[in-house]
């Protein structure tokens, strides 16, 4: 699924990365706990979160995350916006809650980057 299709599906606003919407994504990870993202998320996945601080972008950068989706209508802080711009990491925001984001993506064949812990 392309980032453009994901944007349409989630009625999302693209905050950073308008020029990267043709990127193809197959997997995702949902968490508000960055330590768990670091432990389990895989390169090229979407990071779906309700956190908005710059550490979300740092974590995405460290892991080569494809794009960040902020749910529940959360928007990045100014520092977060600047860092995402600097590191060129696509950042989208949507009013859907995280459960809805995950469900909608799953119905379009996006899968968890791991299914269960201990299975990597």
């Amino acid at each position: 699924m392309t980032l453009y299709e994901i944007k349409e599906l989630l009625d999302a606003e693209v905050i950073i990365g308008e020029n990267q919407l043709d990127m193809d994504v197959k997997t995702a990870f949902v968490a508000d706990l960055m330590s768990d993202v670091l432990a389990f998320a895989t390169a090229g996945s979407l990071l779906i979160t309700g956190l908005t601080n710059p550490q979300v972008v740092r974590t995405a950068d460290v892991l080569d995350i494809a794009a960040i989706i902020m749910g529940r209508g959360k928007r990045p802080s100014q520092e977060t916006f600047q860092l995402a711009e600097e590191l060129n990491i696509p950042l989208l925001t949507t009013k859907y809650i995280l459960f809805e984001i995950a469900g909608r993506l799953y119905s379009k064949n996006i899968r968890g980057c791991i299914e269960k812990v201990g299975s990597k």
């Binding site: 508000d32 706990l33 960055m34 330590s35 768990d36 993202v37 670091l38 432990a39 390169a43 979160t49 956190l51 601080n53 710059p54 550490q55 979300v56 740092r58 974590t59 950068d61 460290v62 892991l63 080569d64 520092e79 590191l87 990597k120």
Partner: protein
């Protein structure tokens, strides 16, 4: 590690400076990319550096992260001046944490940091002295046999 390293340098980290936490790890990632290491190795090293950096920012007065790259491995050391860890076995347990609210708001402090560092390193050493500080030393092998 006896031959001339591909890179050897240190970065200082200021305790309590959450706004810039992760800058050192981003620099380390850039350096490793320039050296031309495989992306999964870079990812492991960046993750280990980042969790170490978050630990220094969260718990120490100040510290430094040293990066040394040889043809065989990446060595990352995180040395801080801070409160130290009274019980290392306890600190290594997943979920055990002394984090304050500020750390938790950043998405950290869930007691996963040291576990993550250990699980993404090929060799992990930790020593600590209460009231003085903590020293982490991690080695990530860069040869293809260490690929997951």
């Amino acid at each position: 590690m006896d031959e001339k390293p591909l890179y050897d340098g240190s970065f200082s980290v200021v305790g309590g400076n959450f706004d810039n936490a992760g800058e050192v790890s981003s620099s380390i990632k850039t350096i490793l990319k320039k050296i031309g290491l495989p992306s999964d190795i870079i990812r492991k090293a960046a993750l280990v550096a980042y969790e170490s950096e978050i630990n220094i920012v969260s718990y120490a007065r100040k510290g430094m992260i040293r990066l040394r790259v040889s043809p065989e491995c990446i060595m990352i050391e995180a040395i801080d001046e801070g409160q130290g860890i009274p019980d290392i076995d306890l600190a290594m347990q997943p979920g055990w944490s002394t984090a304050n609210q500020k750390i938790r708001e950043m998405g950290f402090g869930a007691g996963m940091g040291l576990c993550n560092i250990k699980s993404f390193s090929d060799i992990f050493n930790i020593s600590s002295e209460v009231g003085k500080g903590t020293h982490l030393k991690m080695i990530i092998k860069t040869n293809s046999n260490s690929l997951q």
